[in-house]
Structures are given as structure tokens and as C-alpha cells.
């Protein structure tokens, strides 16, 4: 009896996620059709940011951890994709490998992270974000040193016609990656696994008393989010055409943090908003800087200043803490967001 109810519920989640992905995919398909090449590229940027933010959001929302090391996971994915592309791999296996390699790197980091709390976790992941990209300098022959690696742009399949723009093809690739992430994370979050993770987040002690292996769920959430970041990094490599350590500075991880905080830490819809912010903000601030004829120093740094302000203001306005915020959002968001999501994605 119970088994059947559960099976139906599961099928419900699976079905909903399939519908969600298909609807979102169709919307994106029509969207890319009407966008300029430049906008297509922005959409591609947004899609790979979304992968990372969605992972981070599930990490924060499901296990209450934050990571400042996901910029480094993006680097892992990006370098994997670049190396394999140079070795002649096709696009799909190359991106799959980017995710898998990051998953493997994520396991020891996740195990370590599950044993750390608060500022210790933040400091350790921060050190990871700074330490890992330095490897590219240590082994210049393998990773191209400061200049990094170039990666051949993907060619649109001939079946799409000879005039199909490269940018739109890149947008498609990145969006398909993002939809895969949505599909996987949505199902995890709405499964028993997600429930266990949330139980751990809400009260570690109670969760461990009721027999949940706290560390294991946190590790799982961490590895999952690292994998999403690795795929995001692989997509970044494919979209931008080069991979260099300069693309993964400490600032990237902090920018991602700002994106997650803006998105409200915990909902996949929030990750869409966060990704949109990360892509559009530099444009807006450049426009603002131009219209006030500010110097280039100012306009370059304006988006960063906004990220900083976002983080500060969010914390001052949110004294109950992220946990409380997550729970409030979770209550309001998880339930209603399922049917809202396709429409919102358009916005």
C-alpha cells in the first residue's frame, strides 16, 4: 500500500520534472530564435552560471552549507573539457567527463567539508578557491600556464543549415546543460534524498538521533553541487573558447556567492534570478557608467561593488540568518515554484 503511494508520488515528481524541462526547453528554443548573436551568448553565459548557482543553491537549501570553492570546481570542469577537446573528444562525452571529473575531485573536498562548520568551512573552501587554480601555473606544459588552453569552438551540425549562427548553437548547448541540471536537481530535491538533506540542515542533532548519517548527506549535497559546477565550467570553456587561470579568480567564487544570496538560497527559481544578475549586471553598470561618463576604473569595478553591497545589505536586512531565510523561502517557494517556474524562466 505504502509502496504504491510512494511509487506514484515518485512518478509524480519525475513526470513533473519532465514536463518542466520540456516546457522550459521549448521556451528557450523559441527565445534563442528571436535573439541576436550577442544576446544568444549572454543566454549561454547565464545558462552555465545557472548550473553552478543551482548546485550551490541546493547545497545551501538542502544541507545549510555554503561553499566559496565552486569557482575552483568550475575550473576543474573547464580544464577537463579543454584537455579532452584537444584530445579530439566529441562535445557530449567531453562535457560529461567534465562533470564526472569534477565529481571525483568533489568527493574528498565534500568529505572534508562535511566535517567543518561556519567560518572554518568558509575559510577552507576559500583556500581551495585560491589554491587549486594555482596548479595551472605549476604545470604550464599540461595546463598552459597563465595563458591557459584554447578550445575549438563547437560546430553546429550541418542538419541545422549552413547559416545557423555559432552563438545560437553555443546557447543551445549551454541551455541543454542547464536543463539536465534542473532535471537532476529537481528530482533529488523532491526525493527521499532531498528530505533527508533538509532534515540534516534543519537540525543536525535531531537528524543524527533519528538515524540519519549527517555527514553522508552533507557530503552528497556537496558533491552534487560540485558536479553541477564542473558541468558549468565545462560549458564555460565551450562557450568562451579559452580556459585560463585568470578566469577563475577568488572574485568568481564571491560573485557566485552574491548570485546565490540574491536568488534567496534554496530555490531553483532563485538560481535563475542569480544567473540573470551575474550576466546582466556588468552590462547595466557599464551603461550607467557611460551615461554618467565615469572613468573605466569605475565602470570596471562597479559590478563588483554591487555584488559586495548585495552581500552586505542582504545580511543586514536578514538578521534571522540564512537558515531562517532558507526555511521561510522553502515554505513559500518549493510548493508554489513548480508550476511557476516555466513562466518565470522566460522573464
Amino acid at each position: 500500500m505504502f509502496g504504491r503511494v510512494r511509487a506514484v508520488l515518485r512518478a509524480g515528481t519525475l513526470l513533473r520534472s519532465v514536463v518542466l524541462v520540456v516546457v522550459a526547453g521549448l521556451v528557450l528554443l523559441f527565445l534563442t530564435d528571436s535573439l541576436s548573436a550577442y544576446r544568444d551568448l549572454q543566454l549561454a553565459d547565464g545558462a552555465y552560471y545557472f548550473c553552478v548557482l543551482a548546485g550551490l543553491t541546493v547545497l545551501a537549501g538542502a544541507s545549510g552549507q555554503i561553499s566559496l570553492g565552486h569557482g575552483a570546481f568550475m575550473a576543474v570542469g573547464a580544464y577537463t573539457a579543454a584537455k579532452l577537446s584537444a584530445a579530439g573528444w566529441a562535445l557530449t562525452p567531453e562535457l560529461a567527463a567534465a562533470a564526472v571529473v569534477t565529481l571525483i575531485v568533489g568527493i574528498p573536498v565534500g568529505v572534508a567539508a562535511s566535517r567543518l562548520r561556519g567560518p572554518y568551512l568558509a575559510g577552507a573552501t576559500l583556500a581551495f578557491a585560491v589554491g587549486l587554480p594555482a596548479l595551472a601555473d605549476k604545470f604550464p606544459s599540461a595546463f598552459g600556464g597563465e595563458n591557459g588552453l584554447a578550445i575549438n569552438p563547437p560546430t553546429p551540425p550541418p542538419s541545422l543549415g549552413p547559416t545557423f549562427p555559432l552563438e545560437r548553437w553555443q546557447a543551445w548547448i549551454a541551455c541543454i546543460g542547464a536543463l539536465v541540471v534542473v532535471f537532476v536537481l529537481y528530482n533529488v530535491v523532491h526525493s527521499g534524498v532531498g528530505r533527508s538533506m533538509r532534515a540534516v540542515r534543519d537540525d543536525e542533532i535531531a537528524a543524527s538521533l533519528s538515524g540519519l548519517r549527517v555527514g553522508r548527506w552533507q557530503t552528497l549535497a556537496f558533491v552534487l553541487s560540485a558536479t553541477a559546477a564542473g558541468l558549468g565550467g565545462g560549458l564555460l570553456a565551450v562557450v568562451s573558447g579559452t580556459v585560463a587561470p585568470g578566469a577563475f579568480p577568488l572574485q568568481l567564487s564571491l560573485t557566485l556567492l552574491a548570485g546565490v544570496v540574491i536568488g534567496g538560497l534554496g530555490s531553483l527559481v532563485g538560481a535563475v534570478w542569480g544567473a540573470a544578475l551575474l550576466v546582466l549586471l556588468p552590462n547595466w553598470t557599464t551603461d550607467v557608467a557611460n551615461s554618467f561618463s565615469l572613468s573605466s576604473n569605475v565602470s570596471h569595478n562597479l559590478p563588483i561593488a554591487v555584488y559586495g553591497l548585495v552581500l552586505i545589505v542582504a545580511m543586514l536586512a536578514w538578521p534571522s540568518g540564512i537558515q531562517g531565510g532558507v526555511r521561510a523561502i522553502a515554505r513559500a517557494g518549493w510548493a508554489g515554484s513548480a508550476k511557476l517556474r516555466p513562466e518565470r524562466r522566460q522573464a
Binding site: 561556519g118 564571491l254 552581500l311
Partner: protein, 292 residues
Amino acid sequence: MTKFIDLTLNGISTGAIYAAVALALVLIWRSTRIVNFAQGAMLMFTTFIASAVLNGGGSYVLAFVVALAAGLALGGVIERVVVRPVENAPPLNAVILTLGLYTLLVAIAGMIWGNTPRSFPAAFSLRGYRVGGTNLLFTPNDTFTVLVVIAVAVALALLFRRTSLGLRMRASAFAPEVARLLGVRVGRMLTLGWALAAMTGALAGVLVAPSVFLGPNSFDPILIIGFVAAVLGGLDSPPGAVIGGVVLGLALSYVSGYEGSALVPLAALVILVVVLMVRPTGLFAATRERRV
């Protein structure tokens, strides 16, 4: 062998700087249970101010003093204005807030002074001492660095151990509510704690700037390394921070000398993880860490 001696000497002088950064982090952790991830940006900012003084024709001594004073003011203002509201919030709020501060300060510095790193002068000669016909990798400026850091560490120790102000500050850090019940104006003590910490950080900034150049992001590794040094020393113990700084300075100097400087941040990460996994209370902490 001479290489080993050189690396050791070099490790001591960089270790002194790490010790100052670690000390800055520990002072704040003790008083407010916050790891100040903005520290690296704060000391970057005060060093830029010192650089501006130098460019304006001021002497090195003036620039040095201005940097310390700016650190004092910056730390105090930041505590009062933005940190105070999150002091009693969950620890993650403070983490994100200080990271936001870091980001904001980096951006503001970039707006004012640009993102291209510039050079910053050293107080004394950067030519190594000559011993028995070879130049050591230890310069008069390194001597200055080590002596200044020792002087500040001793001054802080005296302040905390020997003065009634220090007693009030320690009481505020250990038991804020009890301290208030004894008439201690705890808020002021916390502000002062942040101010002193930021001043110590500012000192580190001026001392390290000649070797890393001065740019908005130049001090990111220093912050990470300072954090590792502080954790190594137990995060709660100022003497531990100093020892942690020197130990880490030596370790990273050897790594850099024998394996290349690119591995330094990674080595710091490895040390951090090992310490956190094996002995989270730090290697030198005498008292048990109060985990929050």
C-alpha cells in the same frame, strides 16, 4: 645548505608578516567570534592610502603612521556600522557579510586607484646582508619587518595582560554579558578590538607590499595564509597566531624554494585541511576551543 639557510631566513621574515595577519584575525575572533574575511581587503586599502601619502610627497614614516591610523579608523568604523548588527546572528551571516565587505573594498580600491598593480617602497635596503663573501637572502628590510612585528606583538601582549583596558577587553571577549554586568562598556571594547586588529593588519600590509606589489587583489593569498596561520595557532590564542605565522612562513618558504611558488597557496590549503581534520583546536592552543 646555503639555500636552506636562505629559505629559513626568508621564512622567518614572511612568517612575521603572516603572524601579523593571523594576529589581526585572532583579535577579532576572540572578541566577536567572527572570522574577518575582509581583513585582506582592509589591509590592501590602508596600504593604498599609505601609497597615496608617499605619492603626495610624504615621508615613509608619515605614510607608515597614516596607514596604521587608517587601519585603526577603518576597523572601528566597520565594526560600529556593519558588523555590530550581525554579531548575534548565526555565524554564516558574519561570514557572508565580511566577504561582502571584502568585495566592496576591492571594488572601491579599484575605482580609486585602478587595477594595475604598482610598486611600493621598502623601509630599508632590499640588498641581502653580506656574510663571508655571499649575499644572504635576508635584508635590512627583513630585520625591520621582524622587529616591527615583534614590537607590535609585545605591545599588544602588554596591553592585554597588564592594563585595565586590556582586562576590560578580555572580559568583553570571554563573557560579554558578565562584563556588562560589571559596568564594562562592551560595545566600545569590541569596536576597539576591531580597530586594533585592523591596525595590526595595516602593519602587515605596509610590510608585505614591497614584495607583492600593490593592487586591489594583491593580498588575497596573504589573507588565506593568515587564516591558515590563525587556525594553526588555534584561532583563539594571540601567541598561537604568532607561532602559527612563523611556522607557516617557514613551511611555505621551503615549499616555494624547493617546489616553486605556484604551489604555495595549495600547500597552505593542504596544511589547513590537515590541521582542521587532525587537530581542529590548533596545534598550539592551550585552552579548548569554544566552537560556535
